[in-house]
Every structure is written in C-alpha cells, then in structure tokens.
C-alpha cells in the first residue's frame, strides 16, 4: 500500500482497464493502421491509373477516420495509461522506469504520427493538384510511423507475459525483444490491416455516394485484402501462442470462459470457428462482388471481430496469472521479494496508507478490509464483478483460512497472500464475516448431540 489506491466498485480494476484497452485496440489497429493504410493504397492506385473517382472515395473515407482516430483513438490510448495510473499505480510506476526509453520514443512516434496525418488530411486537395506523388508518399510515411509505434508498444506488452532474460539481467534489450515480440508485432499489424479492410468494406457497401462500378472494383480489392491479411494474422496468432510458456498457456480456456463456462470448452472453439468463418465469408463475398451477401454478413463480422480482439487481449492479460511483471511483481503490485519480506515483518506495519480508523467510511473490520483490498482487490470486488462473497459461498471459517494461505497453490493464477500468518487469519475472519456464512449458520438451530441412534 504505497499508494492510496482507488478501487472501482462494480467493474473492478482489471475489467475497467480491459474495456478501455479493447476500445483503443479496435480503433488504433483497425482505423489508425488499417483503414488509413487502405486509404493510402486507394489513393496510390488512383494516382497510377489516373482514376479521379477512386481518389474521391479515398478522400471521403479519410474525414471520419481522422475524427475517430484523433478524438477517440488517441484519447483511449492515453486513457489506458490514465486508468492504470490510478488503478495500478505501483505497477505503472515500475513499468515506466523499465521502459522509459521506448515510452519516450513512443511519444515522438505519436507526435510524428499526428504531424504526418494532419497535413495528409488538411492538404489533400492542394497537394493532389500539384504534388500528388508527394501526398501519397506522405500517406505511406504515416503508415510507417504507425508501424513504428506498434513496434514500440509490442515490446512493452510482450514483456508483461514473457520477460525472459530480463528477470536475471535486467537489461532493456532482453525485456524489449522478448520471445513473443515479433509474433505479437506481426499479429497486431496484420490484424489491424484485416480489421481496416472490414471497416472499409462496410463503408463501401453502405455508402450512397459511390458508383456501382467503383464499388464492385473496391469490393474485390478489399475482399482479397481481408482474406490475405486475416490468414496471415491467424498464422501470427498461432506462432504467438506457441511462444507462451505452458504454465501460462494452459489457462487460456479459463481466461476466456471464466468460472461460469469453464466446463464447456467447446463453446470457445465454436465461437472462434464461427467468427473466422463469418469473416472469411464476408471477405469471399466481397471478392466475388456479391454485394447482398456481404451486406448481410458485414455487421456480424465486425461484431465478431471485436469479440476476437477482446478475447485475445483478455487471454493475453489473464494467463500471466499471478504476475503483473513475471519474475518481479505479483498482479496485486507487490514485488515478489517484498512479499517475502511482508510475510515476515507484517503487511499493515509497512503500508503507507493504512489507518486503523479511516476517517469517513469505516468498514466493519478495517485491518481485514485493507488486507483484502491490497491483496485481492485488483481482481475481486465486494458486490461487483468476481464478487469475493460468491467465491467464498459455502465455506467454513477454517476453510477460508486455509484458502487464504494456499491461494497460489490452489489456483495457479492467483498470487500468494502477502502478510504474516496472523494477518492472514485477520483477513480470513473478515472474509468469512463478509461471505454471510456465519449468519446463515446462526439461522439453523443447533442440532442436539444426544439421543441419536441409541437403541
């Protein structure tokens, strides 16, 4: 408890970060990388063929993209960081130090991205008239900068799952070029291109300001684009999954299906196959220029794509299990070595923000509550998502005590409890009280121990 961490009621820390992250990925990958690449490609083709209608289509597509990318994409990107700053300050505080340089260079990349995108957008007419080639080059350089920023982010994200040599040598190069770096970069870029293809296809299918002939040509182009990039992305995902240590990879079914559906793994396969088929079908329909079929399938395909993105990000974040930074820090932002220290010297005695009598709201058991929030609050809520009371339903007090002592052994993706044995009892007693099992026990009249079974 180095920080007075705010615990978001209802959704909880993890889900909130995830929601912001998924929106950002959909836009940054799908629009900033994907749709803009397609716009530049269309403009490039229009220039080579002297096709003014095609160039007009590209220009019409750009305006909404610029608005979405600058208003929602950029803000949610910074927003992930904003969210993490208050929901996991210890984690981000350390990550920023490990990755100061990539982060700093990322700032330049972001700025450059905007500095290239703005003239590409604002000077479209003026440059097309005189320096059309330069304008296309500006477009391609935007795609290059966007790729560079994906490059930087992939290093940081990959580190959080497979830090590899960094754990021993603490060198930035080991941390950045970790085993999942290249496949993750490839899958993000290719996935972005494929998603961009779907969004562009939706625009082309629904737009009323586009001639029938042009629509047919662009449909064919986009259909092929989605098929090729989608297949390559799937390949990259497969390679990526192969690079994840088995310890983590084995949680991927639970990561997506959760306790509620964990016994029905077929649902996961069914969902993924359906999504892949739907996307392939809409791409094929576009390639064959079957507009009606594509029109029917495009909305489900986009929804399923968002589902695939959420699934991937959820699994990637979840499977690293008890760690935020494997080998250094647990998911609850307690460094591994510090956890050992706290087990001997006490958690609350070393907490910066623990007050036995907090002003204002006073929970029934301040010590137990503080221990619970610091140890478990990053994933569990009281009364919201992953409610701890549901998790402890039916348990006796001694069994809660054992579970608290054995979290990591029992459930391999939960961190160990940090604190002394006495503190673990304090937390267990608090949780037992919280679970409501005591009250339900009191409701049952005590059973007489005499006179049963004596003939």
């Amino acid at each position: 408890m180095l920080f007075p961490t705010f615990y978001l009621p209802g959704l909880g820390q993890g889900m909130t970060i995830a929601l912001v992250a998924v929106v950002h990925v959909l836009i940054s990958h799908g629009f900033a990388i994907g749709v803009v690449s397609i716009i530049v490609l269309l403009e490039h083709l229009a220039l080579r063929r002297g096709d003014a209608e095609l160039a007009g289509l590209a220009k019409n597509m750009l305006k909404p993209v610029v608005i979405i990318v600058t208003a929602v994409g950029a803000v949610t990107g910074a927003g992930i960081w904003f969210t993490v700053s208050v929901l996991a300050p210890g984690g981000i505080g350390y990550m920023l130090r490990v990755f100061f340089w990539p982060w700093f260079i990322e700032w330049m990349a972001f700025t450059l991205e905007v500095l290239v995108l703005l003239p590409y957008y604002f000077l479209w007419e003026r440059m097309r008239a005189k320096q059309a080639g330069l304008h296309v080059a500006l477009g391609w350089s935007y795609v290059a900068v966007a790729l560079a920023s994906a490059f930087l982010i992939s290093g940081i994200l990959g580190f959080m799952l497979t830090p590899d040599g960094w754990v021993q040598n603490q060198r930035l190069v080991s941390a950045f070029f970790n085993p999942t770096f290249w496949p993750q970069l490839a899958l993000r870029f290719l996935g972005g291109l494929a998603m961009g293809g779907l969004w562009s296809l939706a625009y082309v299918l629904f737009s009323r300001h586009i001639g029938a002939d042009l629509r047919q040509r662009v449909m064919r182009l986009l259909g092929g684009w989605v098929l090729v990039n989608g297949a390559l992305c799937a390949l990259a995902v497969w390679i990526y999954l192969g690079r994840i240590p088995q310890t983590y990879a084995t949680h991927k079914i639970f990561a997506v299906l959760t306790s509620r559906l964990s016994q029905d793994a077929w649902l996961l396969w069914l969902g993924n196959i359906l999504a892949a088929l739907c996307i392939a079908a809409v791409a094929l329909a576009a390639w064959l220029r079957w507009r009606r079929v594509a029109l029917v399938l495009i909305i489900p395909a986009l929804i399923l794509t968002a589902g695939l993105v959420s699934e991937f990000e959820r699994a990637r974040e979840f499977v690293r299990g008890p760690y935020l930074m494997p080998g250094y820090m647990y998911a609850n932002q307690i460094p591994l070595a510090q956890s050992d220290y706290l087990n001997r010297h006490g958690f609350l005695a070393n907490a910066a923000w623990y007050q036995p009598q907090p002003p204002g709201l006073t929970p029934r058991a301040p010590a137990g509550h503080a221990l619970f929030m610091a140890n478990c609050g990053v994933c569990h809520t009281i009364g919201g998502l992953n409610d701890i009371r549901d998790r402890l339903k039916g348990r006796t007090q001694p069994s809660v005590t054992v579970m608290v002592r054995r979290t990591k052994q029992m459930v391999p993706f939960m961190p160990s409890f940090s604190g002394t044995p006495a503190e673990s009892l304090t937390m267990a007693a608090y949780l037992y009280e919280l679970s409501g099992e005591r009250r339900s026990l009191e409701a049952v009249p005590p059973i007489s121990r005499k006179g049963v079974g004596h003939e």
């Binding site: 600058t70 949610t76 210890g90 505080g93 310890t247 084995t250 306790s259 964990s262 706290l342 070393n350």
Partner: protein, 519 residues
C-alpha cells in the same frame, strides 16, 4: 511512511535533466492545450454571435476555426504523453498519490475528453443548417473540455501539498479551504490563459480577411488580460508563503510581456502588420515560459524534498530486500516449471495439502479444518458424482469449488485419482458377515432421516451443511465405512454409532455396498 518499494531508484537521467525535460515537454504540451482550449471557447462564442446576427457574415472563418481546433487538439493530446511520463518517473510517489486520491475525477477525464472532442467536431459539421442542434453540441462539448484542466490542476495542487494528503483523502478538497482557493485560482488562471492565447493566436494568425472577427478579438484579448491580472494576483496570494526571488522574477517578466502584447493589439496600423506578428511570436512564448518557470520553481520546492526522502528510504528497502531476491526468483522459476495441465500436478498442488499426497486425508492443513478432509484412497464413487463434487465443492465443509479448472483438467485429475486410489471402483462387500436384518431396521429408522430411504439424500439431509453424500452414487471401502459408522464424521451431524452392536455395524457396511448403484 514505511516505503519498501525500490522502484524509485531506477532513473534514466539525473533529477536536474529530468526536471529540464519536464519543463520543456510540459511547456510544449501546455502551449497547444491553451491554444486548443482558447480556440474552442472562441469557436462556440462566435458561433453564437454569428447565429444571433443571422449567419450574415464570416461563417467560413468560424468553420476554419473548428478545423484548426481539430489539429490543435490532436497535438495537445499526443504532446501530453512526455510530461506525463516524466512526472510519473521524476515525482512518482507524489504524483501517483495525488492522482489516486482524485481517482474518480481522474478517470472521468477519459469520458470528458472524448465527449468534448467529438462534440466540437460535430459543431463544425453543417453548422449553418442545424444551428440549434449544433449550439447544444458546442456548449456541452465546451463545458466538458473546460472541466478537463479542473482535474489536472486539482491533482497538481494536491501533489504540491503533501501535508494535506491524508485529510483530502478522507474528507475531500472542501476540508481544506486554503487548498480549495489555490486550486480555484490556478484553474481560472489556466482558463484565462487559454482565452488569452487562443485569442492572440487567432487575432494575429487566422483573421486575415475577416476584419470583423479581428476587431472583436482585440476586445476579447483585453478582457482576457484583465481577467488574468485579477486571478493572477489572487493566485500569488494563495502561494504567498512560498514566494522566492526566482519565482517573483519569473512572474514579473511574464507580466511585462503580457502588457506588451496587449499594447500590440491596440496599436493598429496596416503597414506595421508584419512586425506586429513577429513581435507576437516572441511575446507569446515568453509569457508562457516565464509563467511556467515560476510554476516549476514552486513545484520543485514543494515536492523535491519529499521525493528525496522517499528515495533514501527506497535505498534502505533495496538493502533489506536484496537477500530475498534469490528466493523470490527461485519461487518464480518453480512456478514456471509447474504446469497445471495434468491430474498429477493438480492433485499435488491443489488437493494434497488437505487430502494428503497418499490420499489418506492427512495433508498439512487437515488438522486445521473442522470437517476433516475425506480420505480419498477409501472413496469408491461414480465418476460423474466425483466430478460434481470437485466442480461445485461441498458447502459447509472445507471443500471449495474447482471450476477454476476447465473440463479437460478436471477429467485428468479424476483419471489420476482413479489410477492412484481406485476411487471409481465399486465398493466391495465386507469380508465380515454382519447382521443385515438389524442393519436394515436401523437404516430405515435412523440413517434414512438424513441419507434417505434408498440412500439418496432426504429433504432434511439436503438442508444440512455439509449435506450427506448420495449413497447410491458414493461409497467407501468396507473398513472406512465401518470406521465412519463407528466414529462418526467430525464436524458433521454424522454421529458415532458405536453403541450399535458390531454385527449391526458390519451389516450396515454390507447394506451400503448394495445401495450403491453400479457404475
């Protein structure tokens, strides 16, 4: 404050360089923030103005202002990345603490910004066709946008007052009137600066050919400057105790430059237009830099000593933690080597601490439980029944639910248990002959109350915690069954029936074996 984290010690540069970087990157960010915010104010203000005058003139200018806003806001957002990064490294604990205390507002920034940006983008779209609709978007968007610096200034004001943290964390800003006043002035000063910078930017650079707007903007600048003077004086009052010669010098330079700029706005002469623009280009950054210098000096004084003290503690923490690092790393490697994808590993880690590695119910935690863990090596049950027990747990006992493992893992666990303990074999009839007739009577009269007449749990039994097992699907080895009948099951309503004749008890064991439905 006992601070154990050693995260404060990894720094890319010395503090001086970091502060310089913070200053430079923040100045760049703030410049675009002020221009953007000022532009938004001007856009909405003049949209209303145009509308009231019947859109008669200069709508093209109004539209251009909004596309300038789109560009400025994009830059303002991305340029914010560097100062946020640097401040979170340079003054990590003060900054992240202040942000955490203000967390709900801090998180609201996201929604505010997205809403504001989208609304203002909508404002520019066909503004002359649907004026009412666009007025609503403009006003709401501007309101959201104007709220954004309120949060940032609150976090920074709080960061610079570490002595007020715990009070504000408990009771909110209202508990600290002095801090509230300082924040309010600071916030208003930012709004005033935005109005002034936005006004000056458009006055000098975007109103060529829009004389009417040009004229209006000179008034706008005068009002903004006067506002800044009043708020600035009050802001200085709020930090009176902290003023140093450096702060006073920086503020004086800033005020002087602002007065010069104001003079330029009134000195109108077409022939010296170019020179006026060049002077404005020098003066505007000068105002910004000098005022930010004053701010940075104040911030340094407030935060640097605390950060230094924290870092000294972190050094000590690093020494204390050093001997534990090796153990922690070994634990991590052991975790990496333990893959929960097979029954053997799952049993050894998630089950054995209660049920014992040999299934004898004597794991290291067994003695701490009121209801002793079942001796798994004596269980003879249907697989589906065991699966349900493992999946859902036994309420009222220590047995938790294990839906944290997917079906494949639980199947593997059950396979392992069957192979190791024969848990899915059929219960054998006892080797000792018992009194079956007496056993049937006892069962019907006593056992059936909970276990049900046919061994399927009775309604009463189902209400117990833990409830008895379904004897048609769950059995035990004869020795274990005899032991449970004789000694009872601790922590449950299963009594020791040692008063029954031995032959009756063995008869019950035989009866149980016959109750159990085949596989």
């Amino acid at each position: 404050m006992n601070n154990l984290h050693d995260l404060l010690l990894a720094k890319p540069f010395s503090d001086q360089v970091m502060e310089l970087l913070l200053f430079g990157s923040f100045a760049l960010h703030l410049l675009f923030v002020l221009l953007m915010l000022g532009t938004a104010m001007i856009a909405v203000f003049f949209f209303v103005h145009s509308w009231l005058t019947g859109f008669s003139y200069e709508l093209r200018w109004d539209k251009r202002v909004l596309s300038i806003h789109l560009a400025l806001k994009s830059l303002a957002v991305v340029l914010g990345v560097a100062p946020l990064l640097i401040i979170q490294v340079l003054w990590s604990v003060p900054f992240l603490t202040a942000a955490s205390i203000m967390a709900p507002y801090w998180l609201a920034l996201l929604g505010l910004m997205i809403f504001a940006f989208l609304s203002l983008d909508i404002l520019g779209h066909k503004m002359d066709v649907h004026p009412v609709r666009h007025l609503i978007f403009g006003v709401l968007g501007l309101a959201a946008l104007v709220a954004v610096p309120a949060v940032f200034t609150a976090v920074l004001s709080l960061m610079e007052n570490p002595d007020k943290w715990s009070l504000v964390a408990g009771k909110g800003f209202a508990a600290e009137p002095a801090l509230l006043f300082h924040w309010l002035m600071r916030y208003l000063h930012i709004l005033g600066a935005a109005a002034l910078f936005g006004g000056a930017f458009h006055y000098f650079f975007s109103t060529r050919g829009a004389q009417e707007r040009h004229y209006h903007l000179s008034h706008w600048m005068v009002v903004a400057t006067l506002f800044q003077v009043v708020v600035g004086v009050l802001l200085l009052v709020s930090v009176m105790g902290r003023l140093t010669p450096a702060v006073i010098t920086a503020v004086t330079v800033g005020v002087f430059a602002a007065m010069l700029l104001l003079g330029l706005a009134f000195y109108r002469h077409p022939e010296v237009d170019k020179r006026r623009m060049a002077s404005a280009l020098v003066l505007l950054p000068l105002i910004l830099v000098s005022m930010l210098m004053a701010r940075q000096y104040l911030q340094h004084q407030a935060v640097a000593p605390m950060q230094a003290a924290l870092e000294a503690r972190a050094q000590e923490a690093r020494r204390r933690l050093a001997p534990l690092q090796a153990t922690a790393l070994r634990g991590f490697q052991a975790h990496l080597a333990t893959v929960y994808d097979n029954g053997e590993t799952i049993y050894a880690n998630a089950c054995a601490f209660c049920h014992g590695q040999d299934g004898g119910g004597q794991g290291s935690e067994a003695a701490t439980l009121i209801v002793p863990p079942e001796k798994l090596n004596a269980v003879r049950a249907q697989r589906q029944y065991l699966y349900q027990v493992v999946l859902k747990g036994v309420p009222g006992s220590g047995m938790p639910y294990f839906s944290v493992f997917d079906r494949g893992k639980l199947d593997s666990l059950l396979d392992y248990m069957n192979a190791s303990f024969g848990s899915e074999a059929l219960p054998q009839p006892p080797s000792r002959q018992g009194d079956l007739a007496a056993a049937k009577m006892v069962f019907a009269k006593t056992c059936a109350v909970c276990h049900g007449e046919q061994g399927q749990v009775s309604v009463f039994g189902g209400g117990l915690r833990p409830a008895p097992p379904d004897l048609t699907r769950y059995g035990l080895t004869p020795q274990r069954a005899y032991a449970v009948i004789t000694q009872g099951y601790d922590g449950t309503v299963m009594q020791p029936f040692n008063a029954l004749p031995e032959a009756t008890r063995w008869g019950l064991v035989g009866l149980l074996a016959s109750l159990r439905v085949k596989p």
